[in-house]
Symmetry: C2
Subunit: 454 residues, 2 copies
């Protein structure tokens, strides 16, 4: 274990936290065009940092959307080459009124850093860069060769990443990839993710009358688009949480008893404490752990129609809109599932209203790797050395489309080194990241880079 690198991280902890806060203070919300310049600023922050550390060929690679940051350090002759992926963009911060401190003014309290992106993914990406800095400042070199790819469009589905990687296959080529954009099953519990869900989504609008109209005068002649939308949405899933779109489950492998046992034995979150729900409502025939880790989902992310203000407004709305997304299991093809849903909506839309569907530009297949793979076993050991606790192996309900993208383009294994915790409020108000994960996580990374050089 590199004592020097670890000591460097401890001695420079305050400087590093200040630097992280600078990064978190940039409101790099990729989905919102008003934040376009902020996103570029966050990209420049990463590029400048890489140059400072001593990376070469550092550049912002332009895309039709937000740029990609590339950098490399390739002087570890004979050692393997890792591709580090991360993202410097973040989710929108609204509803703002639910934050206890400003989302883009990082604040440390209760042993946590509070800010949008503290966990997902600026904080975790930053840890890798800090570890590279520690090695370079103390040993003048990294244990293995490193290529860095930090993008600005993860929260909008990595729209242009695939094209860039495909165009520059040689530049990005590596022996394996590592990503820290996930979490541990509970704080302090080393967790190796060996599976992720895929993703697809769409938005649809139902239009009735060409404007909001008086419910007394037109009620009885006109199809209400909000009512039509409710019927259409209700036709997507039944009350047993089974998706009722024909063909939705095609191609999914049934979970075997052993995998079910592992899932159900893994430590989990107490939902009534963490998010205040009264009871779990998984798909019929599965536990909540099985459903969140391994079964596909279909969720309404947002919907709106008509009057939303104070009091009443007795209208039939002109339009109703819903945003829908799915998390997919291995075996499901994102494009196929999206088309099944679109076809189903066209099939069930009632007469008297018009349906417009906008497919979301986000998409990705699920990913699964053998938990006994050497790269994962080394990661598990690096974790347990730092956290002094055995690692558990789990699958996650979240989607990191880039994992499947890297797998498809390069055919290399992807190692997920997550340091987040269930209390991080990802995508929610009061996102935060524990200082314990920051400190011990960097120790894990130091250990891992050295083990990879062996």
């Amino acid at each position: 274990m590199s004592k020097q690198a670890l000591e460097y991280l401890q001695q420079n902890r305050e400087n590093l936290l200040n630097k992280l806060n600078e990064f978190l203070a940039i409101p790099s919300v990729s989905t919102d065009s008003r934040h376009k310049d902020d996103v570029v600023q966050a990209g420049n922050f990463v590029a400048d940092y890489l140059k400072e550390i001593g990376f070469q060929s550092v550049e912002l690679q332009e895309t039709p959307g937000h740029p990609l940051v590339y950098g490399e350090w390739l002087e570890a002759e004979g050692a393997p080459t890792v591709l580090l992926y991360g993202h410097y963009d973040v989710q929108p911060a609204d509803p703002l009124e639910l934050w206890d401190s400003e989302p883009f003014k990082p604040e440390i309290r209760n042993g946590r850093i509070y800010a949008r992106g503290a966990s997902d993914d600026k904080g975790q990406t930053f840890m890798h860069l800090a570890v590279f800095e520690a090695f370079m400042k103390t040993e003048g070199r990294l244990p293995i060769n490193v290529k860095v790819c930090i993008e600005g469009e993860e929260e909008i589905g990595s729209k242009h990443l695939y094209q860039v990687l495909e165009d520059k296959l040689d530049q990005y080529k590596a022996d394996f990839a590592m990503i820290s954009d996930s979490g541990m099953v509970e704080a302090g519990q080393p967790t190796i993710l060996y599976g992720l869900k895929g993703f697809t989504g769409l938005e649809f609008t139902v239009t009735g009358p060409n404007r909001d109209v008086h419910s007394g005068i037109y009620g009885g002649a006109v199809k209400n688009p909000a009512m039509a939308m409710a019927h259409m949405i209700a036709s997507l899933k039944n009350e047993d949480e089974q998706v009722t779109v024909p063909g939705f489950y095609d191609g999914i492998e049934e979970l075997d008893a052993e995998e079910r046992r592992l899932m159900n034995e893994s430590p989990g979150e107490n939902y009534s404490e963490s998010i205040g729900i009264m009871e779990e409502t998984p798909e019929k025939g599965y536990t909540a752990k099985e459903h969140t880790m391994a079964r596909p989902t279909l969720e309404i992310n947002g919907m709106y129609s008509g009057y939303q203000g104070e009091g009443a407004k007795t209208i039939i709305p002109s339009t109703a809109t819903a945003k829908i997304s799915c998390r997919l299991a291995p075996g499901q093809e994102p494009d196929v599932v999206q088309k099944l849903i679109v076809d189903h909506l066209h099939h069930v839309v009632p007469k008297g209203v018009k349906l417009d569907v906008t497919p979301l530009p986000l998409s990705g297949k699920a990913y699964k790797i053998d938990p006994n793979h050497e790269l994962l076993q080394k990661a598990a050991q690096s974790y347990s050395d730092a956290f002094e606790k055995e690692a558990v192996f789990v699958r996650l309900g979240g989607s990191i489309p880039v994992v499947e993208m890297i797998d498809r383009l390069f055919g290399i294994p992807v190692v997920l080194l997550g340091f987040g915790t269930p209390e991080d409020n990802l995508h929610s108000p009061n996102e935060s990241f524990p200082l314990e994960s920051f400190d011990k996580g960097m120790e894990v990374l130091v250990n891992y880079l050295e083990k990879l050089a062996e």
Copy 2:
């Protein structure tokens, strides 16, 4: 016919229109607490006008909400006394971006006055006052005794009107009532309304997790409140436009063949031209005319949940809310229907979410009067003299809870003298009122007051 009063109206047309514009310019949106002062200002406008005309005992009667304007002129000895009801409050103007001119900067174009309230109900209330002014200025008296009751809470369900009227039964007592807060089946077609629908409504919120949560991490464990709401709403009405809340239709008299014939023969609106719908979708077994005029409705007025911004946000929303209202047929009790819906919602709410229901403070029974009543026949003649066209007799899908309220409190007939047209965009952007209705409508009122004195 009082030539003098009619001439006065013609000669003072520009002044009267300017005065109406002053009235329309006050944004007296009763549902929005930010407009509280504007609502009072509109009430004062009416009171000041009544004093100017020569009404006595004019006062703003305070309520826990917005005030009521009272005034009287009772010097027509031996003649009957009419209670004139109107309202000076208006619906919200949003969505503002869909207006071609400012909602509270009245503008005349294409022979119409464009402004929120131009038709509903400031414009029509104003016509009565102008006619009173014309009689007083020319003959020094009105043909019959008049009591005036103009309220500021019609668009929020006349919340406090009933209490005030009940407390001041003697003050408001009259032989019959007249109201201009409705329309004609088409521009220039004299229309006598002999029936109105009742009203009830409610708002409900479904709550799942205590904040918006990540759809990947929690999807599969947590009931999605937007999905739950869709199922609940879909359970209220089937695709044949039949309300499926048990007991909803109880007590309604079936329409007889003669009334169906009259309804279907009455001139109607071409919905594809007026509001751009592709086809009518009435309740199974009824025509659109029958449903809008005489059958009850259940409509979603608004609904919202989760993320509504640009792009995607992959969350499970914390809450979902819907605003629902019903138009009721004779025989339905508003409170009973409201309770049936609330009970039904509690019955169908799925496990895993919490239901909160807020009944709307709006309510009123349907109203029906014999179309052969002398007061209606005189009204029909007054119309046909002014418009040079025979009147048609119809029922309307809209609700004027005050009609039923007056019927219940005073047991007197209510005459509905509507001058609006289907093109008025009530409750919608670009509300307007035709100048033809303004001019000929005042002629109708002059005729009617004189006929009532006979």
